[in-house]
């Protein structure tokens, strides 16, 4: 089965429409005004799904589908969000039971199941609308647990030969509150292939299986950056978020705080081309300066001096080389990057020009969203890589799936090479 950006755009529209239907029904049910703030489309391996649950308590409402994409649709809330929905939106007090497996009483379960079912229905109606087809759904079942299995089922069986699941993450804001939920769709392979075949445009596209290349790009990019940071600063770094989102370009800045941030931005050119930006909060920028210059920042809280800015730029430069080398390894291509652009401003203002640059040629974008942090340090770095779609499709189409397998078996990039100069230096 083949994918292209047009098909993925259709997926996104279905998810957005589904989230809006869900929000509308929530309004009808509760009388509370709601609106959809964000809808993201993610591609996930079984392992990613597992990581998403992260040992935290969740509840889910699942239904099986007949028609359209087939398979299974599951609405998942974190337990805290589920409680908030029950208490705020449904104006019921959650039954006073301790946190844990059995912390949702019968009343709560039935309220959440009802809500989850309404939301599943909303999504499925959204899909049926866009696909112009009928989709039947089974009766809903409620599940709770702190890992994927009790809620999603056997992941290997669910993701099957495709390796990747589609997940839609939406956030709905209600007056005075806001809550998030995840919507997993594990489509039936054949039904999905038929659906896709009917919605592709004339372009060549790429095989669904090659989406696994995305997963390797996410993985390698994050690993190389974490290694670079460790090598430069001695911080013990960990990867906190590793995600690939497919979103309308206008929603890219919404995901970044409007708080003041320090950033280093690059354009990159090759297979693929695009933009890469590293964002730090001020305490993280101060940690970097202290680690690199062996002295605290000299500024009086009003920005950094020239030497400090150069240090941050160079730090960004080395991270950019690591990140893009990781991608180039997976894709078997060369990617050059620009000199660093230092910026210190409101976070969303820093990223909107990049969303705009990309948005001049395309309606949707893949956003590689990575966050690394350091144990015992006030260090947190958000990384956003936004490739342009044309070259990315080409790069994926040219990708030999065997290469991907080899890349995944390779040991991670040795530390002593991570800080090496980029291909354009």
């Amino acid at each position: 089965m083949k994918l292209d950006v047009n098909v993925l755009g259709t997926f996104h529209r279905m998810a957005r429409e589904g989230a809006e239907q869900a929000a509308n029904r929530l309004t009808q049910m509760t009388g509370v005004g709601t609106r959809v703030e964000v809808t993201k489309l993610n591609f996930m391996t079984a392992e990613d799904v597992q990581t998403e649950f992260g040992g935290r308590q969740h509840v889910g409402v699942r239904v099986d589908l007949a028609g359209g994409p087939g398979g299974t649709s599951i609405i998942v809330f974190e337990a805290g969000d589920a409680r908030q929905i029950v208490s705020t939106l449904l104006q019921k007090t959650t039954e006073d039971e301790p946190e844990g497996e059995e912390s949702f009483g019968e009343m709560d379960r039935s309220a959440i199941t009802e809500l989850g079912h309404i939301m599943n229905n909303g999504f499925i109606d959204g899909w049926a609308d866009v696909l112009r087809t009928a989709i039947d759904i089974s009766t809903p079942s409620f599940a709770a647990g702190a890992s994927a299995e009790p809620i999603v089922g056997d992941l290997d069986e669910m993701t099957g030969d495709q390796d990747l699941a589609l997940m839609f993450r939406s956030q709905i804001a209600a007056v005075g509150t806001r809550f998030g939920f995840r919507h997993y769709l594990f489509p039936d392979h054949d039904a999905m292939a038929d659906t896709l075949a009917r919605h592709r445009d004339g372009s060549d596209g790429f095989e669904f299986e090659k989406l696994i290349g995305f997963d390797q790009m996410v993985e390698q990019g994050a690993t190389e950056v974490a290694n670079s940071v460790t090598q430069m600063t001695g911080f013990k770094t960990g990867i906190e978020i590793r995600q690939l989102n497919f979103v309308p370009v206008e929603s890219i800045p919404q995901q970044i705080s409007e708080e003041q941030l320090v950033g280093v931005a690059f354009s990159f050119d090759g297979m693929p081309s695009g933009y890469l930006i590293f964002l730090f909060d001020e305490p993280s920028a101060e940690e970097i300066i202290e680690a690199l210059l062996s002295r605290p920042p000299q500024g009086n809280g009003d920005g950094f001096d020239e030497i400090e800015r150069s240090a941050i730029e160079e730090f960004g430069n080395i991270m950019a080389s690591g990140f893009l080398d990781g991608w180039a390894n997976v894709l078997g291509t060369a990617i050059d990057h620009s000199t660093p652009n230092y910026v210190r401003d409101m976070g969303s203002a820093v990223i909107d020009p990049i969303a705009i640059e990309v948005g001049q040629d395309q309606e949707y974008a893949f956003v590689f969203d990575t966050s690394i942090d350091a144990a015992e340090r006030a260090f947190d770095c958000g990384i956003y890589a936004i490739p342009e779609e044309g070259r990315l499709e080409e790069a994926l189409a040219a990708l030999e799936v065997q290469n991907v397998d080899q890349a995944s078996e390779k040991p991670s990039f040795p530390l002593d090479e991570a800080g090496g100069p980029g291909p354009d230096e």
Binding site: G33, T34, R35, G176, E258, Q260, I356, E357
Partner: protein
């Protein structure tokens, strides 16, 4: 009436954030805000005598340049849509005035003409001129971000940058 999306109940106690490619209009005095404008432009329009106001958060100059996207994604269609929605709420064409904010150039990438902030502002101005809507004030250009809050009844626009105190225009 206040509308970004149908079904979203107005709430005067809370400032309503207008995201990129969204617009909102009201005759109920609800304040609207755009946070962290970089090269995007906030277009505020209001008819003071009727206490009707609206805000659009646009990201690109012209709808003719790219397929797809809502009216408020583009400066030209965004201005026209906002004007039409204010008229529908009872604003008188000849009393509608506008203010603009945003349109900065945050970066200079090698080999890329990053002048889209300027082009956004130019497109908004050209469309407002076509609509005969005078621009009462503006806080545009430069190389820094801005957050703004519009008092929809009076047309007062509060503008804040990362390194400055809030001022009103």
């Amino acid at each position: 009436m206040t509308a970004i999306k149908e079904g979203f109940a107005p709430n005067r106690d809370e400032i309503l954030q207008v995201g990129i490619a969204e617009f909102a209009v009201t005759d109920e005095g609800q304040p609207f805000a755009c946070y962290g404008l970089g090269s995007c432009v906030a277009i505020a329009m209001y008819d003071r005598s009727e206490s009707i106001g609206g805000l659009a958060h646009v990201m690109l100059p012209s709808a003719a340049e790219i397929d797809g996207g809502q009216d408020a994604k583009f400066a030209d269609t965004g201005c026209r849509r906002l004007f039409a929605e204010l008229r529908a709420l009872g604003a008188a064409s000849k009393r509608v005035e506008a203010k603009l904010a945003g349109g900065s150039e945050m970066f200079e990438f090698e080999g890329i003409a990053s002048d889209v902030g300027k082009r956004n502002v130019a497109a908004a101005k050209a469309t407002l001129a076509e609509l005969n809507v005078p621009i009462e004030a503006e806080a545009v250009g430069g190389n820094h971000g801005r957050s703004i809050v519009l008092d929809t009844a009076s047309g007062t626009l509060a503008v804040k940058t990362a390194n400055s105190e809030m001022r009103t225009i």
